[in-house]
Subunit: 249 residues, 2 copies
């Protein structure tokens, strides 16, 4: 592997230097981002990658270690290393924090109310870093937990990255799985901002609660491997029988 070397020892600042294993990691991440290695598929063995890049297996392993820690890869001893896929179990653990008060964790059901393609409004364009006049696909759906409607959710994604998403019938329950499987878009991170607000009338009617009742507003911005914004999602959640679980460690 063509290694980035440090600047001459004479005194130059070594600004561009990164350890070898990070250079390896970056190249491997790029392969996933480019779709060369697809979600759920196995990747070459540590020795194969090491030989290809002319580094030792231990160096590759350290790169894979970090990627595994970031939930990008899944390893199975004796079998191989796989690109993590957004299956329901992973979503439930990593991205879905609303839980029944009795503690049972489950993947919510979805009932899609509307799907449309339209020009992004100012707020959508700002949050998704879109140019003026770009299109988005909007999805509005209700989500149920343990049989009861718990969430009213508005989603916006850039239409350019998800062609014909508005015509996909039916819209699957697990959206991130669709993003990865059909469009090769990997949701790597998300930032959620939470507030307590009075429930608007429209959503209250849909969720079967009194208007003005306090609900949890979750504003989520999801980004892909390159840090590009991929999805903006605003969820209104009942918290009379549910709660948002956050582990600090």
């Amino acid at each position: 592997m063509p290694v980035e070397r440090k600047a001459g020892e004479g005194g130059g600042a070594v600004v561009g230097f990164r350890p070898l294993y990070r250079q390896v990691k970056e190249r491997l991440v790029r392969r996933i981002a480019a779709g060369e290695w697809q979600a759920g598929r196995i990747i070459p063995s540590e020795f194969q990658i090491a030989a290809e890049l002319s580094v030792s297996q231990g160096t590759v392993r350290k790169a894979l270690d970090e990627m595994t820690a970031e939930n990008l890869l899944v390893r199975r001893q004796g079998v191989g290393t796989f690109v993590a896929s957004h299956d329901e179990d992973r979503i439930l653990f990593q991205f879905f924090k609303l839980t029944r008060d009795d503690g049972g964790r489950e993947f919510p059901d979805s009932q899609v109310l509307a799907v449309e393609r339209a020009r992004a409004n100012a707020e959508e364009a700002a949050r998704l870093s879109l140019a003026r006049g770009s299109h988005v696909v909007r999805i509005h759906r209700l989500r149920s937990l343990g049989g009861a409607v718990a969430i009213s959710e508005h989603i916006a994604v850039p239409a350019a990255r998800f062609p014909d998403l508005e015509r996909s019938e039916p819209v699957p329950n697990n959206l991130y799985g669709l993003y990865g499987g059909r469009y090769g878009v990997t949701v790597a991170r998300a930032t959620e901002s939470l507030k307590a607000v009075p429930c608007p009338e429209a959503d209250a009617a849909l969720m079967g609660i009194a208007p003005g009742m306090p609900v949890l507003l979750i504003d989520r911005l999801a980004t892909d491997l390159d840090g590009q914004e991929v999805e903006w999602r605003v969820s209104l959640c009942r918290t009379d029988r549910f709660h948002y679980l956050s582990d600090l460690k």
Copy 2:
């Protein structure tokens, strides 16, 4: 180091086996938990620990790697490895998730309203795993962000682990720093459960908002290195100008 060996190869399940570096890690964690290594202090070098336990430096390093990833240690190349202390910066990053809407992150001021020692009620005893009749110390305080009161907070800790806490004057702003520095209790993890609720009259008056206004209720249970419950904290937060930030990755 007396290594745990695997069961005979004849076919027994290798239930008790753990890798060497995890055995090392566990021993080192125990030293911190026992107060042998105190918060903020430097620990012996990797080679010293390796020699003492009769393992290689790389094995010690792997144990320290994991402990660093868990925010238990802080490393400084060329200097040494230190036991992480609960200074304000770390708290802000790890345990304090409420942020001003304009994005500025800061450590909140505190105004203590009441401190008392009393027998634990049923709920406190349950949450803190205390025996019937045990005592707790209760603290009620207001916390301000950017000059405005943002949080009304009720805290309960086992009196047995924090003797004379109710007589400590004044109660410091950074409680976890006090737990570690004066009582040798390290808060390692915390679980927060969030709900949107109408603000009770008493707290509304204290925070200067209308009663019944939606506020964020944060129910936090903090545990030490051994998983023992250390503190139960219920915070009511205004979210009209603040929000709870949660990074999913």
